[in-house]
Amino acid sequence: MVKSMDEIKIFVLCGITAFIAQFVNSRGSMDLGKGFIGILLIIIVSFIAMKIKARIPLKIPAFAWASLLAFIITTPISPIQGFFIDMTKGFGYSAVSTVILGAAGISVGNKLNDIKKLSWKIVLISLVVFTGTFFGSALIAQAVLKAQGII
C-alpha cells in the first residue's frame, strides 16, 4: 500500500514533467484539457501495468504489460478506443522521451568513464546491427515470398 502511494506520486511527478515538456513542444498550442485527461489515462495504464507485474509471477516486465494494455485498449474492438486515442494523441513521443532521457542522462552520470570507453565502438557496432537486421530480414522475406510464388 505504501509502495503503491509512492509509485503514484512518482507517476504524477513524471506526468507533470512530461506535460510541461509537451506544452513547450507544441509551442503553447496544446489542448490543455485533453492533455490533462491524456496524461491521466497514461498514468492509470502505467500504474495498472506495475500492479499486474507485481501480481503475475511471470518474468514479464511492466513495460511490456503497459504496451499490451494500451494495445488492447486501442484495437478496433475496444469500446473506448476512440476516446483513449483522442485524449492521448496530443502527447507526442518527443515529450515522453525527453523526460526518460533526461532522467537517463542523470542516472548514467556516475558512469561517464564507461561511456567514454564505449564511444566509437558503439557507433561501429550500431551500424553492424542495422546492417545485420536489414539483410537478415530481407533474406527471410525473400525466402518466404519465393516459397509463396509472389516473386
Binding site: A62, T98, G102, V108, G109, N110, I125, T133, S137
Partner: protein, 287 residues
C-alpha cells in the same frame, strides 16, 4: 536498513524536488530547442531530437562532469539524485510503453492481412546477433554487447532492457548507445542501405519489408531511397515498407522479450567461451 529510494519520507522530499526541478528545466530547454535536422546534400540528413539534447544536458550537470568544475552543482545533483533518477527512468518508460501500444492497436487489422512473409521477416532482428554480438564482444564490450546487439534497439528494446537490467547497467548503456546512434544517424544510414541494397539480387519487395524493421524515420529513408533506385515499383515498395513497420511496432517488443533477449544471453555465454574472455558475473536482474 537500506534507504527506500522511492519514499519521500525522512527528509527525502528534497531529493524529489531537486530531481524533478532539474528534469522540468531540462525538458523545457530541450523542447525549446526543438528538433534540428541537418541536411547533408544528396547523402541524407542527420536528425537531432530534443531527447538527445535532454540527455546531453542531463549528463553534463552530473557531479562527475560539470559538477567537478562547478562545485555548487553538487548541491543540486549528487549521488542520491542519480540513484533516484535511475528509478524514474523505469517509471517514465511505462509512459512510452503505453504510447507504443496505442500506436499499434488501431493497426491490428492491417497486420492480420499482411501475410506470412511480413511476420517471419521480423526474425531478421536475429541477424544482428550472429554478426553484431561477436564483434561487440571482440571489441571488449562484455555485457554491454548484449544490450547493444539484442535487436535494432528502438524504444521497445530500450524499455525492456532498461527495466530488466537498469538503464545504467552495462546492458543498459549498450542499448542506449545503439538507440542514440540510431536516432541521430539512423535516417542517413538507412537511406544509404536502401539504395545500396538495390544493387543486390534480393527482390525489391523483400528489401522493402526489411526497410520497416526500425523506426518510422528509418523506414521512410530506406524505402524512399530504395524506391528511387528501383523505378516503377514505388507504390508497392512504400506499402510493403509501411506495413512491415506497423508489424514491427506490434511484434517487436514480444520478439525481443521472448526470442532475442534469451537467445542473446545464450549466445553471449557461447561466444565468451570461444573467445576465452572471462565472463562478467552476470548482473542480477533488478526485479
Amino acid at each position: 536498513m537500506e534507504e527506500n529510494v522511492l519514499s519521500m519520507k525522512n527528509g527525502r522530499a528534497e531529493i524529489f524536488i531537486k530531481l524533478f526541478s532539474m528534469l522540468i528545466v531540462i525538458g523545457i530547454i530541450a523542447e525549446g530547442i526543438g528538433a534540428k535536422i541537418i541536411l547533408l546534400g544528396s547523402v541524407g540528413k542527420v536528425v537531432l531530437l530534443p531527447m538527445l539534447f535532454a540527455m546531453i544536458i542531463a549528463g553534463a550537470i552530473t557531479p562527475h562532469a560539470l559538477g567537478q568544475i562547478i562545485p555548487a552543482l553538487k548541491n543540486i545533483c549528487d549521488d542520491r539524485e542519480i540513484e533516484l533518477a535511475e528509478q524514474i527512468v523505469m517509471y517514465s518508460l511505462l509512459f512510452l510503453g503505453v504510447k507504443l501500444g496505442a500506436s499499434a492497436g488501431p493497426n491490428v487489422g492491417k497486420v492480420a492481412e499482411a501475410g506470412p512473409a511480413l511476420l517471419l521477416q521480423e526474425f531478421g532482428n536475429l541477424g544482428t546477433m550472429l554478426i553484431g554480438l561477436p564483434i561487440a564482444i571482440a571489441l571488449g564490450m562484455k555485457r554491454g554487447a548484449v544490450g547493444a546487439t539484442v535487436s535494432i534497439c528502438r524504444e521497445p528494446t530500450l524499455g525492456l532492457i532498461g527495466e530488466k537490467y537498469g538503464i545504467n547497467s552495462p546492458e543498459g548503456l549498450g542499448v542506449m548507445g545503439t538507440y542514440m546512434t540510431g536516432t541521430v544517424f539512423g535516417t542517413i544510414f538507412f537511406g544509404l542501405l536502401g539504395s545500396l541494397a538495390a544493387n543486390t539480387s534480393i527482390h525489391p519487395y523483400a528489401l522493402a519489408m526489411a526497410s520497416g524493421m526500425g523506426s518510422g524515420s528509418m523506414m521512410t529513408a530506406a524505402s524512399q531511397s530504395l524506391a528511387a533506385s528501383v523505378p516503377g515499383m514505388q507504390d508497392e515498395i512504400l506499402a510493403y515498407a509501411a506495413t512491415s513497420n506497423i508489424m514491427t511496432s506490434i511484434t517487436g517488443l514480444y520478439m525481443v522479450l521472448f526470442v532475442s533477449l534469451p537467445l542473446a544471453n545464450k549466445l553471449y555465454a557461447f561466444y565468451t567461451k570461444i573467445f576465452g574472455i572471462k565472463e562478467d558475473s552476470k548482473k542480477e536482474e533488478v526485479k
